[in-house]
Structure formats: structure tokens, C-alpha cells
Symmetry: C2
Subunit: 341 residues, 2 copies
């Protein structure tokens, strides 16, 4: 029997434009050992999220990029294998920034224990974790929807969008999703109970969106940018709010579709319609509100008022192709990689 | 002796691009007579403001445009000549939307009496009126500057910008103005006591602005758009706020200088730096806050903590050329037209 090894997926090169699997490389290395105040964790589930595309680029951002040759970052649900911190012991399930790899050493201060009996550990990477909390704070604190208003959300069946829409329904809003393809649109209406969902791949998408929003748009939860934002802009109402959570269409170079006339049109709309556009990152909101969120969302999952769908990919080695698919919109639900049992 | 006539300046045609005096026409008409609930007013002072360029265009906006052939709209200080409303009598000084003309009939409900002994009636069109209140609410309610932060304001010596900067100084901020030409920049520093003022006509304007804001920009009060906004964007700090009050550079077609890369850069900055951009129009704020504003601002003018400069043009017939000059930045201080004593 050989000593266990650590498979890890590193950034092989910085992609320009659309990322492909060749941007990544699988390496094998010894399993690291924890120092005092650290834990060794075995990653069980890896979350794949659009923000990771930003970390592959060296454009200035809110955190430094992943270095070429370094392990890709990512949130994981993991099991503690060995602990050199009194707060953890072997067997504990935790949420960590474990990265795209089998094992990781993590500072105990950066690891959060899952409550005993947590029903679906992978949900801590989605509806009960960062994406769910992003949806919760972005919609309720920045979007501030009122009953009767129209809320539009892009990437509607994704980890964030699906929660945004369902929470807006709880607030008494008309909810219109935007998604890629008929299957996702059907799920948004039948599974997530949105009032409508419009396929952004349809050539008549702008007209379909306008038809689905006869009273205009009061809150546009921005996950996408690009051609979707272009179609949304003329529909925004007086005093509408636009929380900017992500711009997935821009991460791979689609942004030029906006055209030279877009910035003036956007600025004019902001002025004339008194629109509020506000970027946010969920890290700004962690603290006491996170516990409140987990408690409320757990209740909504139990009573069925929030539905959650995962897209599970089996095996760490498949993370690169799954991530490339995520950026192209090929996932259907929150994308997670199952690394181990 | 002939009966008095009403000279009025009407919109002769909708300009495309830069407006010229030929967009206007002086007409003569009989003095109108008030009906019940109305007053006849003699305009004494006419305010000229950038928003009027928007009223000359039929692009969708927050109010309908001025019809071709109709009298140009505008705020005035006027004297009541005849009243058919018990709240007013001949001789009262009022603020009204009297328009670009000698006389107007106005609904008594739309007219506000100036307090007896109001020291400078024309100030009710500027520092103690709509532009001053715009600066007050936009800076304090949307910009929300904190002591030690850097506040940048364009059109720095104008009716709004000069008040924004002086109020930001009162809040303990570093204030950097942007203005066109050395004389205005000197006034902003020596007269208005800004910390610095940068000439946007200088080819090295972006570098000069960066040098004047070594700690970045926390609040950018947007009056201008165009190349000024382009230079501001890379300097905006995390969690900065951008009240959008006006876009004078766009009113006449300068907007294309922004370029096709600007909208993606703007959206990315909003996301990564968690910027809040919010359009506003002062009409949204009228109500109890206006009285508070007049009282506080009157005190600041008396004690010298706010300085105010007017650019007075003599004669209604000169309003068109003065307005064309305003859009080109040729005024120096709040532009008002003296129509009569």
C-alpha cells in the first residue's frame, strides 16, 4: 500500500477570452501536514462558481489572482482528518476554502464547522452558503423589493438566481427569470414558481422580455451583463434598483456587444429614471446576518417554500470541464463536484 | 402710450448636437390675463440651467419637452402684478416657473412667496433655490461624505458644484473641483476654498486629477459625464458613491468620447469596488427638507461659510446667447438673466 497522495488542479496558464480545460493541469503531490492552529482536511464537495474566472485573470480585482502554477481556489465541504487546533477533531464536517484538490491544510480560524446532522452537506456550498447568502443580502438589502413590483433575475436557475427569484416571490413580487434554453426556463416556472422566464438565446429575447414585464422592471438583479443588460435597460422603471452581483457575460469577453452607445444610454437612464446601481460582494455582509440567513433559509427549505437543484459532477478530475461548462451556461442548477464520500 | 406687450422667447427648432441661438426666436404677444386662482407675474430674474437643454429635445425624459413654438420654461423671481387668488397681492415677490418672457400667468398653487426682506431675490434661483437644494440633498443624502474622505465635483464653480464643494468642506472632506480654465480653477481654490481644482481642458487632465486625489475618490458628484467621468473612474475607491445630478457633456453629443470599452469598465468597477451610482432629481426631495435647507443655507451665507457667485446677463433678449454659453462652460458662477427691476 502506498502513502496517500494529493491530487490538485492548478492554473496552467491565464486564458484570454473563453477559458478551456487546457488552462488547468492535474498534479500529484504528497499530502501536506498541519502545523499548530491548522487542520488537515479531506475535501468531499467542491463548489464551482463564476467568480473563479476572475481569479484566473491578473486584472486588478478585490483579491489577488491565483498564481500560475498554484492550486485553484474554491469553497469545499470537507472532513477533518487531523487537527492541531482544540476546536476541531478528526471526523468533523467543515466548510473551508479547500481548493480544487483532495486534501488541504487550513487555518482553523478560516474553517467553519457544520452543525451535527446537517442534512445535505453540499448545500452549505449553495443555498445555505455563499451563493444563497449572496442572493439573500443582495435582493433584500440592495434590491429592496416591495410587494407588487417586478423583479428580473438573470442566470435564473443558477445558485444565486434561483434563490433571488424565490425570495422575491416570498415578498409578493412578479418574478421574471432569464435563462439559457427551454429546459431551464421551464424549470424556473414549474420548479421555482417564477411568473415567467425568458430564453436569452432566442433572437427575439428583448421583445419577449418586454412582453414578460408589462409594468416595467423595478429590481434587476444583475448576474450577467452584456446583451441581457442591454435588453433590460429600456424596461427599468423610475427609482428602480440594480444590485450588481456578477457579470458572467463579461468574464470571457462578450462585453463588446454593449457597443459605444451603451454607456451614454446607461448614464442617461440612471439620471432620468433615478436608478440606483450598486455593486456588492457578499464578504461585505458576513457577520451576524449570516446566522439569521441560515436559520431562515433552513426553515424555507424544510417547509418547501424554497426549492433547490444541484448539478453534481463526479470526480475532481472533471472539475475543469465542468467549470468551462459553467461559464458557457451548460450547468443546470448549482454546480458542485463530488470529490469523495 | 401703447399697452404693455409680452416679449417671450420660444423654441424655434429642436437642435441636434450643439444648440445655437438660432434654436430660439423672440416673439411679442399681448400680456395675458389671470383667471380665478391665478396670478399675473412680471418676471424680474430668469434662471438659466443645464437641464433646459433636455427640455429642447424630444427624447423620452422625466417631463415632456417644450413644444416647438412654445415659450421656453425656466424658473424666475417675479413680482405679482395682479392676483386672482387671496394668498397673493400686487407687489409680492415670488418664485415661479415663469419662463423666458416678461410676463406670465401662473397657478397660485405653483408659486412660492419670498419672505419679506429677502436680501438678494435672485439668490432664490441659485444658492437658496433649486440648484442649492440639489447640491445639499445630492451630496448629503446620496454622497454621504465622511470626514477625511475625498469628494470630487465637476462644474465646480457652477450653481450646483460650488455649493457641493463648500458643503463637503464643512463635512471635513478633502475637496477637489474640476472646472474649465485657469480662472475658474483659481476661484474654486481661492474663493470657494477647495483643496484643489483641476482644469479639464488641459491635455494632462487625467494625470492632474490623479495627482490631486492621492487617496482616491470616495464621492464623485456627477454633473458632467464624458471625458471627466472617464478620468474619474479609475480613481474611485472601494464603496465610493456617485450621485448623478447631470451629464452636461452628453447634452450636446460629446458622449461618444466614452468609447466602446467604457461601459464594461464602468460595470466592472461597480462590481469590484462595490460602487453605488444613483441618479436623482431634486423634485424627488421637495417637502419638509426644503425649509430645513433654506434655513441652514441662509445661516451659512450670513456667517460666510458659503460663498456664492452670480454671472448676471442683462436683458431677456440676451438669454439665448447666454444659454448657449452656459452649455459651453462660458458662464462663471450661477447664470441669471436680469429681465426688469
Amino acid at each position: 500500500m502506498t502513502a496517500p497522495e494529493n491530487r490538485r488542479i492548478v492554473l496552467a496558464e491565464r486564458p484570454t477570452g473563453a477559458a478551456t480545460a487546457s488552462a488547468f493541469r492535474l498534479e500529484r503531490a504528497p499530502v501536506p501536514a498541519p502545523a499548530a492552529g491548522e487542520v488537515l482536511i479531506r475535501n468531499l464537495w467542491l463548489s464551482l462558481d463564476p467568480y473563479m474566472r476572475g481569479r484566473m485573470s491578473d486584472a486588478p480585482s478585490y483579491v489577488p489572482p491565483v498564481a500560475v502554477g498554484a492550486t485553484m481556489v474554491g469553497g469545499t465541504v470537507a472532513r477533518v482528518e487531523a487537527s492541531r487546533d482544540p476546536r476541531f477533531r478528526a471526523g468533523d464536517l467543515v466548510v473551508a476554502m479547500g481548493g480544487w484538490q483532495d486534501y488541504a491544510v487550513a487555518a482553523a480560524d478560516g474553517v467553519r464547522k457544520l452543525p451535527a446532522g446537517f442534512a445535505h452537506p453540499s448545500y452549505a456550498l449553495g443555498v445555505l452558503g455563499m451563493p444563497g447568502f449572496t442572493a439573500y443580502m443582495g435582493l433584500l438589502e440592495i434590491g429592496r423589493p416591495r410587494a407588487g413590483e417586478t423583479v428580473v433575475v438573470g442566470a435564473a436557475t443558477g445558485a444565486v438566481g434561483s434563490v433571488v427569484g424565490q425570495l422575491a416571490k416570498r415578498e409578493g413580487c412578479r418574478v421574471v427569470g432569464i435563462a439559457g434554453g427551454a429546459d431551464k426556463c421551464r424549470w424556473a416556472v414549474e420548479g421555482l414558481r417564477f411568473d415567467a422566464c425568458v430564453d436569452h438565446r432566442d433572437p427575439a429575447f428583448p421583445e419577449h422580455l418586454a412582453a414578460a414585464c408589462p409594468g416595467g422592471i423595478d429590481v434587476y438583479f444583475e448576474n450577467v451583463g452584456g446583451a441581457v443588460l442591454r435588453a433590460v435597460l429600456p424596461l427599468l422603471n423610475l427609482h428602480s434598483r440594480v444590485p450588481v452581483c456578477g457579470l458572467i457575460a463579461h468574464y470571457q469577453g462578450e462585453a463588446p456587444v454593449l457597443g459605444a452607445d451603451f454607456a451614454p444610454a446607461l448614464l442617461r437612464a440612471i439620471l432620468v429614471k433615478r436608478i440606483t446601481i450598486r455593486g456588492f460582494i457578499v464578504f461585505d455582509f458576513y457577520g451576524p446576518r449570516f446566522e439569521e440567513f441560515v436559520e431562515r433559509m433552513s426553515g424555507w427549505l424544510r417547509d418547501g417554500s424554497v426549492t433547490y437543484r444541484e448539478d453534481v459532477v463526479d470526480g475532481l478530475e472533471r472539475a475543469p470541464e465542468a467549470f468551462v461548462g459553467l461559464l458557457a451556461g451548460r450547468n443546470f442548477g448549482k454546480l458542485v463536484v463530488k470529490i469523495a464520500d
